[in-house]
Amino acid sequence: MSWPLRALLGPTLWAVAFAVIYAAHGIGCARGWPAYQAPVGDLHHFTMILLWLLAVGAASAILWRAPRGNDTSDRIIRAGGWIGLAATILTLFPVLGLTSCGATG
């Protein structure tokens, strides 16, 4: 795989995970998924947590396979991996705790 694609892999994974989980959140609220039971909690939380864990796993794998070298191109690939992992964990961790469809406004 070429250098720019490897550097972009982590952030791209975050973008895809963010879009998919946000879409799953909207569709789940519209279709009443929180009312259905799942192996862990309700179907809505279960789906989103599963997607999130898959994304975190994939982002970790990208970072694990990043080159260990010390030249600029290797370091940028590693930084891309860290960006993907950190963004996936930090922007999507709310799937763990919050009520999924309650709104104020």
Binding site: P4, I76, G80, T91, L98
Partner: protein, 818 residues
């Protein structure tokens, strides 16, 4: 290792190159020039004029708000002025200014002779000028847009904005966005393919990294706004209810699409300014930039993360808590890559020996302003605070801290830093520092206090306010310092004018910088450098033609194309010369915009046909009717000419365009998904399209496109003879499908289907034009063994058309079945 060319007389080389790369004197030259230096300067000067106009509007707004119950402007005029202030600053000042700076500097910094598509640069500037003039004319005529710079529906719908005010915004801004997309394609391809030989991607100047991030963001960031503007204009013109809540539409769709563009826009504006800072700061501190790799990673992070924040502009519309948390976290997280850059710059100052010259003063202005804007940004990212401050003057203060701090101060630093390169003249001493202090004091006096005004509860965009003692003095202070800032900007402009008129001739590289643009003669000549540089060459050696491709011995505009990553020389590109086609094309597009603006819809198809005919003329320069031997760029470095290579600049440019087009289509899918899941008024009424006839026609269309994609793979586009009539038949089939559709004014679902079919028809028509082009090029010998001409372009377009049509047909089929 590249061996230098033998030295030649610099003056002879200059004359030879200027004859080929220059332009005729007088009006003919002005109207036909495609030179990147001239167009870059035109972009910047025009943008500054719009900045001055928008600044005058701001002063009128401040005059109105200086006292409660101000009688200086009436409500209608005030609404037009604040809308025009925001729209001019965002669309006609900030974006064109950064485009102009990038267009001017990039070829020089990267060691090239021009941008990748010079005629596209010119088309972009003319579209910008004509679009800007349409918007300004509306202001003069008193029918300027008046719904705020983000044009929320339903306020901007036909019901509540019945005049042409909103149409001026929707059509004028979309017209100007053509120039933004043109610039984005231009800049991306230039950075990736037109660097100096052996300049690796990971070694190029940071300014190029920032501009690459910016242009990539523009390719993905502008399509949502273009789609939104088109949908709203179609709703206003033909009553297709995309945003009408009573017929399955939703005003929130506009907000989503607008802010999908609007938030990345802030970073699109900030990144080039940060590129200028990363270039100027080390020179002012007599050191190297600290943390090159960390800054590149920060740019990468910003480019992606900035697309995950848009909903923080919509925190108060009633979005579920979990979604609020996603976007709140992303909004806070984006501060990290920004902080990485700030610390890298502070580290650079710390390790160097800062000299408080004028560019450095403006950079200090940047630090003191932008960091505060960033901190209030983190405050606004926190949902409970956002709910309190939403739509108050606090947000107005925050956005001005970010935009003036993050763009205007760095651009002023850039202007005074690169003025010697633009003009060949040194600054006139005296006015610059005074202008800087007036702007800095005026800015903070205006906007720091405005945070308090907002926290005291004053809403944005009101023309009068009650006799509330808490708001009176803060508004008066803001208005007073607003005029101080305006005086500072006037003085800044005067300083630049004096430099142009009376500045002394400056020596080469007056700041003793180490970037390549300072290796040019000053002001830079039409061709930039007499020979293209490779590592270790001095300015004198380049002027004597010891680099690659010295002079213009074949009497045409030649420059080098390299591998996107390694910078290894690949081939020679022959660029087009001066041409009237850009201005003619922009004028024809402008004519179409005016037809739409004044409601002459029956004539609009003729406008579209005229655009097609004009654009068709562009191919005439392209290609060669005979085989050409490789050109020796340097001893032992022989390279083919672009006519014979399949991965030329046009192919890279088309890839960029298809990324933008794919984003546009994805946003359309988002609109379908959003309305069908979230909007009230769904499910849609029973569809009356006949399943059998519509399904049959859709299957025929898909089969035609599959066949055309297969035919486009035949060697040397021999399949174009059969593909052309097939594609015309495909166009006919889309017409048949259109007859079967439900009335698009009935429900948003039907309107979206009609819009989707229009998209497919347009793509089929363009594919047919590409097939025709290949046919013509085969007949006149430009497409033959060893000469690929438009064949790779047609193939890629054909595949894209097939993919998007297939997705659309499957989507409609799923809607019908489910």
């Amino acid at each position: 290792m590249i061996t230098p060319n033998p030295p030649q007389r610099a003056l002879r080389l200059h004359r030879e190159l200027d004859r080929v790369w220059g332009r005729p004197a007088g009006w003919r030259g002005i109207l036909t020039s495609v030179n990147h230096s001239e167009l870059g300067l035109r972009f910047m000067v025009t943008a500054f004029v719009f900045f001055a106009i928008a600044g005058c509007l701001a002063m009128l707004i401040r005059a109105q708000l200086a006292t409660p119950g101000g009688a200086f402007l009436d409500t209608a005029l005030y609404n037009q002025f604040f809308t025009m202030h925001g729209s001019l600053m965002m669309f006609l000042f900030a974006i064109p200014m950064l485009e102009g700076l990038g267009m001017y500097l990039l070829p020089k910094m990267l060691g090239s002779r021009d941008l990748a598509f010079p005629r596209l640069s010119a088309l972009g500037w003319w579209c910008y000028l004509f679009g800007g003039l349409i918007i300004l004319s509306a202001l003069v005529a008193g029918v300027a847009p008046d719904g705020g710079w983000f044009m929320y529906t339903p306020l901007s719908s036909k019901t509540y904005s019945p005049g042409i005010n909103a149409d001026v915004w929707l059509l004028g801004v979309t017209f100007v966005e053509i120039s933004a997309l043109a610039a984005a394609v231009e800049i991306t391809v230039t950075i990736l393919r037109m660097r100096a030989p052996r300049m690796k991607l990971t070694e190029m100047p940071l300014f190029a990294w920032y501009m690459l991030g910016t242009s990539a963001m523009m390719l993905v960031g502008f399509p949502p706004l273009i789609l939104a503007s088109m949908l709203l204009e179609i709703e206003r013109a033909f009553d297709w209810p995309f945003f009408d809540v009573t017929r399955g539409g939703d005003p929130l769709l506009w907000q989503h699409l607008f802010w999908l563009f609007g938030h990345p826009e802030v970073y699109i504006i900030f990144l080039p300014a940060a590129g200028a800072i990363s270039t100027i700061l080390p020179v002012m501190c007599r050191t190297k930039i600290m943390g090159y790799g960390a800054i590149v990673a920060a740019v990468l992070g910003l480019v992606f993360l900035s697309f995950g924040l848009w909903v923080h502009h919509m925190f108060t519309v009633g979005i579920p808590h979990m979604a609020l948390a996603f976007f709140s976290a992303a909004s806070a997280l984006v501060a990290v890559p920004t902080a990485v850059q700030i610390f890298a710059w502070i580290g650079t100052i710390w390790q160097g020996r800062p000299e408080m010259r004028l560019p450095m003063l403006h950079l200090m202005g940047f630090f003191s302003t932008f960091v505060m804007g960033g901190l209030t940004g983190v405050m606004l990212a926190i949902v409970p605070f956002n709910w309190q401050a939403h739509d108050t003057a606090f947000v107005t203060a925050h956005l001005h801290y970010v935009l003036i701090g993050g763009f205007v101060f760095p651009m002023m630093a850039a202007a005074v830093y690169w003025m010697p390169l633009f003009t060949g003249r040194a600054a006139v001493r005296g006015l610059g520092p005074t202008a800087f202090w007036l702007i800095l004091i005026g800015f903070h006096g205006t906007f720091f206090i405005m945070h308090l005004t907002g926290l005291l509860g004053m809403p944005r965009r009101i023309d009068v306010y009650p006799d509330n003692s808490e708001w009176i003095w803060t508004n008066l202070v803001s208005s007073f310092f607003g005029f101080v800032m305006a005086a500072g900007f006037a003085l800044f402009a005067l300083d630049l004018l004096l430099q142009i008129l009376f500045g002394e001739r400056t020596r080469r590289d007056p700041w003793q910088a180490d970037t390549l643009e300072w290796a040019m003669p000053m002001p830079a000549p039409s061709y930039n450098i007499a020979s293209l540089p490779f590592p270790g060459q001095s300015a004198l050696q380049l002027a004597r033609g010891e680099g690659l491709l010295p002079g213009a011995p074949r009497g045409r505009r030649e420059t080098l194309v390299v591998d996107a990553i390694s910078g290894a020389p690949r081939h020679i590109a022959v660029l087009p010369g001066n041409s009237a086609l850009p201005i003619v094309t922009a004028a024809v597009i402008g004519g179409f915009v005016l037809l739409m603006l004044f409601g002459f819809y029956p004539l609009a198809p003729f406008g579209l046909a005229a655009i097609g005919v004009t654009v068709w003329q562009w191919h005439k320069f392209m290609g060669s009717q005979s085989d050409e031997p490789p050109i020796e760029a340097a001893p032992g470095v022989s390279l083919p000419v672009n006519h014979s290579v399949p991965d030329g600049l046009a192919r890279t440019g088309l890839t960029c365009l298809l990324i933008a087009n794919g984003t546009f289509f994805t946003c359309y899918l988002f609109a379908v998904g959003f309305l069908s899941v979230i909007a009230p008024g769904w499910p849609a009424p029973e569809s009356t399209i006949g399943t059998l006839p519509a399904g049959t026609l859709a299957a025929v269309l898909i089969l035609i496109l599959i066949a055309a994609s297969g035919l486009a793979r035949f060697p040397l586009a021999t399949g174009s003879t059969v593909a052309l009539p097939l594609l015309l038949l495909g166009l006919g089939v889309t017409g048949g499908l259109a007859m079967l559709l439900d009335d698009p004014t009935r429900h948003a679902r039907d309107a979206l289907r009609a819009a989707g079919l229009g998209y497919v028809a347009l793509h089929c028509a363009i594919a047919a034009l590409f097939a025709l082009l290949c046919l013509v090029q085969r007949r006149d010998g430009r497409l033959a063994e060893g000469r690929v001409a438009a064949w790779p372009i047609w193939r890629a377009w054909q595949d894209f058309t097939l993919a998007t049509t297939l997705i659309l047909v499957l989507l409609i089929a799923a809607q019908e079945i489910l």
